[in-house]
Amino acid sequence: MSEDKEKIISEAVEKALQGDMDAINNIEDRVTRSKAKAALVKAKRTNVVADKDSTKENNTSKSKVEEKINFNQALCQKISEKFPDSIDADQNNDWIQLRPENWLKIAKWLKSDEKLSFDSLQCNTGMDLGEGVLESRYNLHSMKHLHKAEIRIIVSVEKPDIPSVEQVWRVADWFERETYDMFGINFIGHRDLRRILLPDDWEGWPLRKDYQEQETYHGIVVPKVKEGWE
């Protein structure tokens, strides 16, 4: 954006903060006017005049990323202090890798702790990382403090057991059933772990990379992957 447009917007926003809305309403160009209104809203929220300078925008997004990294590292630190020997791999900037054993206790603490209060589980994804390694990823979010975290737990195909967290977040009930249905990860302590999307007598775990379709299902031939028109 050009220099004088930024100047116009910042002047107009300053005037509007003191109560004079005419400066914004008199801007001719629609796009500039709308940007000025957005800047005013932001300024009122944070009590700081936000310039539409591109370098400043980069700085704010960089600081958001840094905040997230710092929060993640701090969270990792807290978990390893409270539950020693639970962190699986080296610290990462975006997610926390945990061992499956203490997961239920950690989850309860994450929800009940005052400063963290992760009271909603956003999404639970299963992953097949190849070579007999399965993973379950949890995206957590706090409605009170508005911070997020991602937790990953790795298990092997021979012993795919992870403690179930459905007592902590009720939404995990169906999420874990779906992960079980698609990947075969066994959630210990789940009160009713059975298939949810596929029929109960389906064989195999479809989203694994080495999945082979069964031959027939109740007399109907199960379709295989088609490479071309037949």
Partner: protein, 365 residues
């Protein structure tokens, strides 16, 4: 006794099976069974390219295809760090809000249809057809659009789009009051929905319910304001929250009330967006020639008419995704049915199911 409300019932919600334990009239337990429409969306995503995933996302929630596309495209653009130009952003917001109006119209109409009110359903479908005409003018399709692409859009706005949309909004705005009067303040409707199926706020958050269902319980949470994406910060709109005007906070009437008011807010947003729409701009400007995101993963949520729609995309550097998981809002909305539906009469349960506004295509993927 155990009764079955089978997979085939009049085509509003789709193929869902409810197994109810009842003593004749009062239902003590409801177990939903799904999977009758499991179309292996996630398996398909692993085998096709990133652009080819978009038509598959359309077909998951077929009543709100634009917002399904929008969610995927926002997640991909954050993963690849693409910035689109203003014209694309404004058009996306206009399409998403028009789609929200259309989806709510059908949701409310089907809710009334479940309770026996046939006329509002026909009126709402008639007005929804006019929105579908606008969409057809733009991208050629009535229901499944494949309109929003990574980095831009598939077609630019045709001539006459702005006039057609403004004509529609001028025609439609008084109709919303008519619908609210016809259905919402109707004595029979109020008696069948007020104080029924009450969902307290903490139950809703714990079960992961979001969107109009959560706002009907009094929690002011809207991703367009609280978890900012696209250019929603340039518009001035309210977030309607259920207040318990006809009964308690969080009953079925409140969820209906939130949806009707959201239609009004969407009309406001579309008017403001058309007002601010830039005239110049190329909608294909920021589209990459080959979509090959860097290795990594992202989870991004956007606001669909049913709640917060999340896409978890993991890429391994090639041109097909490694894993795409769609976190659908209707999945979690259905899981709360046992909690709020048990203990009511049989005829109330279908009303509660209608007020949750689920779409089976999204639940089963």
């Amino acid at each position: 006794m155990v009764l079955n409300i089978g997979p085939q019932h009049p085509a509003t919600h789709g193929v869902l099976r409810l197994q109810v334990k009842t003593d004749g009239e009062i239902i003590s337990e409801i177990t939903p069974y799904m999977g009758y429409l499991h179309r292996c969306f996630e398996k398909h995503c692993e085998n096709v390219t990133y652009e080819q995933v978009i038509p598959f996302t359309d077909r998951c929630d077929y009543l709100a295809s634009m917002t399904m596309n929008f969610g995927y495209v926002v997640a991909m653009e954050q993963l690849m760090e693409i910035k689109v130009n203003d014209k694309v952003e404004y058009i996306r917001v206009i399409m998403a809000e028009l789609q929200r109006i259309a989806s709510h119209l059908l949701g409310i109409g089907a809710f009334g249809l479940d309770l026996g009110a046939f006329t509002p359903f026909l009126h709402m479908l008639r007005d929804r057809e006019r929105i579908l005409d606008i969409f057809e003018m733009t991208c050629g399709a009535r229901l499944l659009y494949n309109y929003m692409w990574v980095g831009g859009l598939s077609h630019d706005l045709p001539t006459g789009f702005v006039e057609a949309t403004l004509n529609f909004l001028d025609y439609f705005e008084p109709k919303v009051d008519e619908f609210e009067n016809l259905l919402g303040h109707n004595k029979i409707f109020v008696e069948r929905t007020a104080d029924i199926g009450i969902m307290p706020a903490d139950v809703a958050i714990s079960y992961g319910v979001t969107g109009p269902n959560l706002r009907g319980s009094g929690v002011k949470w809207d991703l367009r304001k609280d978890d900012q994406y696209s250019i929603y910060d340039r518009f001035d709109f309210n977030v309607p929250v259920g207040k318990g005007l006809k009964g308690t906070v969080g009953d079925c009437w409140d969820r209906f009330y939130v949806r009707i008011h959201e239609i009004r807010e969407s009309i406001k947003i579309v008017r403001q967006a058309i007002d601010q729409l830039p005239k110049e701009g190329d909608v294909h400007q920021a589209m990459p020639k080959k979509i090959r995101p860097p290795k990594g993963s992202i989870y991004r949520r956007t606001e669909s008419p049913r709640g917060d729609l999340g896409y978890y995309i993991e890429s391994d550097g090639s041109d097909t995704p490694y894993r795409v998981k769609m976190r659908s809002p209707a999945f979690t909305a259905l899981s709360v049915l046992n909690e709020i539906g048990a203990g009511w009469l049989m005829s109330d349960v279908l009303g509660i199911l209608g007020s949750l506004d689920i779409v089976l295509g999204e639940i089963d993927r």
